[in-house]
Symmetry: C2
Subunit: 300 residues, 2 copies
Amino acid sequence: MTQVLPKKVLVVGLGLIGASFIRALKCRGVDCVFVGSTRSVQTLQNALDTQLIEEGSNDLSSVSASLGKSDVVLIATPTLSVPAALEKLRPAIERGVIVTDAASVKGSVLDAARHIFAEIPPNLILGHPIAGSEKSGLFAADENLYQGQGVILTPLESSDPGALSMVKWLWELTGATVSTMSVEQHDQVLAATSHLPHVLAYSLVNTLARNKEYREIFKHAAGGFRDFTRIAASDPSMWHDIVLANKTAVLKQMDDFSQGLSELRNAIERDDSDALKAIFSRAKKARDDFSLILADREKR
Amino acid sequence: MTQVLPKKVLVVGLGLIGASFIRALKCRGVDCVFVGSTRSVQTLQNALDTQLIEEGSNDLSSVSASLGKSDVVLIATPTLSVPAALEKLRPAIERGVIVTDAASVKGSVLDAARHIFAEIPPNLILGHPIAGSEKSGLFAADENLYQGQGVILTPLESSDPGALSMVKWLWELTGATVSTMSVEQHDQVLAATSHLPHVLAYSLVNTLARNKEYREIFKHAAGGFRDFTRIAASDPSMWHDIVLANKTAVLKQMDDFSQGLSELRNAIERDDSDALKAIFSRAKKARDDFSLILADREKR
């Protein structure tokens, strides 16, 4: 199937995710009019000044009114702000404009869409690029952020195949590999592989930072600590939204984790060498499996 | 003070730590006879074949008997094997040979030394290079493993200043920065910045790996998960020794962590936005502080 490029690509939210999406498409020669919408006057000015976008506005409703059927919208705001953007884009979506999003949680966005629309519009395709950085904001934008990374789309049975393939194609143009799964599966997989690790890293650093001497303690930390805690420097408001939006799955993962940690704690307390070696060895084997998956991914 | 190189440097245990120590000194032109002692016949052969060492033996007691006052010994075995090595080195230590170690826990080694010797010998200087890798073994040896990294020595009041400066000097020759602190402080700092993160990473991956679909789940994991779990690929028997040797401090850190995690869990459950933002922001600030410490360290 030959795709025809959209006339306009509107990106709502010009942070790391939205701005990197535009940069990735531009640097790969995608010739559309890129339009930005952001609530911040300063960010909009920066986006225009750096020629990230050709057009922009702080008023999403008015931009929405100007969109036609050959345009595509990516909502790249924090998770809990997606519903407000959908509300403002409602007339455009009802006119058939293809809209997708990049929120880290899909169930909460789908729930919000069910409140806004009588039926989920076939041209609304929810998605999530599994890429990010502890850096955030327009100036952290990276044209290679999505290169070789995964994007998960969560179409419904009622989704329009043409809309799905347009969204898939645009993400592939950024260098990403696109897969599809159900909304429920997405939210469970991400709770395990992303939301839980972030929660643990935040909690560890927060607990250590209660010690007044924490800077002195950190002075003696090495590479393991650096890598383990890197994600604790992620944007707090973004992660506030994610853990609340995916609350049920996140709490379930936290409870499973705490039970496992408690078993490990008891094994240490009673000097249970066999149990300790079994836990550490099973973890090492699974992590080595993950290294193979990563190596395989890089080969592609 | 001008240092005179030892005649022989004996390294007990030819894994990542011991072999990297020798490689680091050799590549920086340190001209001693390097002697290796290891229980494995194959490792000894590999060490001789690759010219890591000039002499070697599987029998530490006999090597110990051949050491003189101008020789230096580094015990680089797993933590719980250090006492057995000290026992075999006892005659040499009593003759005044300078001995140090590289175990990740210092309290348990000091306790063992108290059982072996009537008084802690002034020429026994305990230490710990804060460097490592999830890789292990002779063939993972890296001449730059210690470059720019920290080494903590934990001398006692009774320690011989000459022995201390010899050990300090050898580590500095590998490219490391040496600091000193008490045994107790070392074990608490390391429990917080190294032992706890390893325990959490092992526990997370072990818990996730209980799910039969874990390989499928890991396929969708990104860079955050990769970095967060990297240390779960570390050597299980090494970490078995460390958590048992530093049991009290590790359990204390695990309990503090679990209490913090439980507070975070409750904040998520009751949708407490203010508490979540406070926890995530405090963690981000502390992690940003750590980035500054790292940047400062790299400048040196």
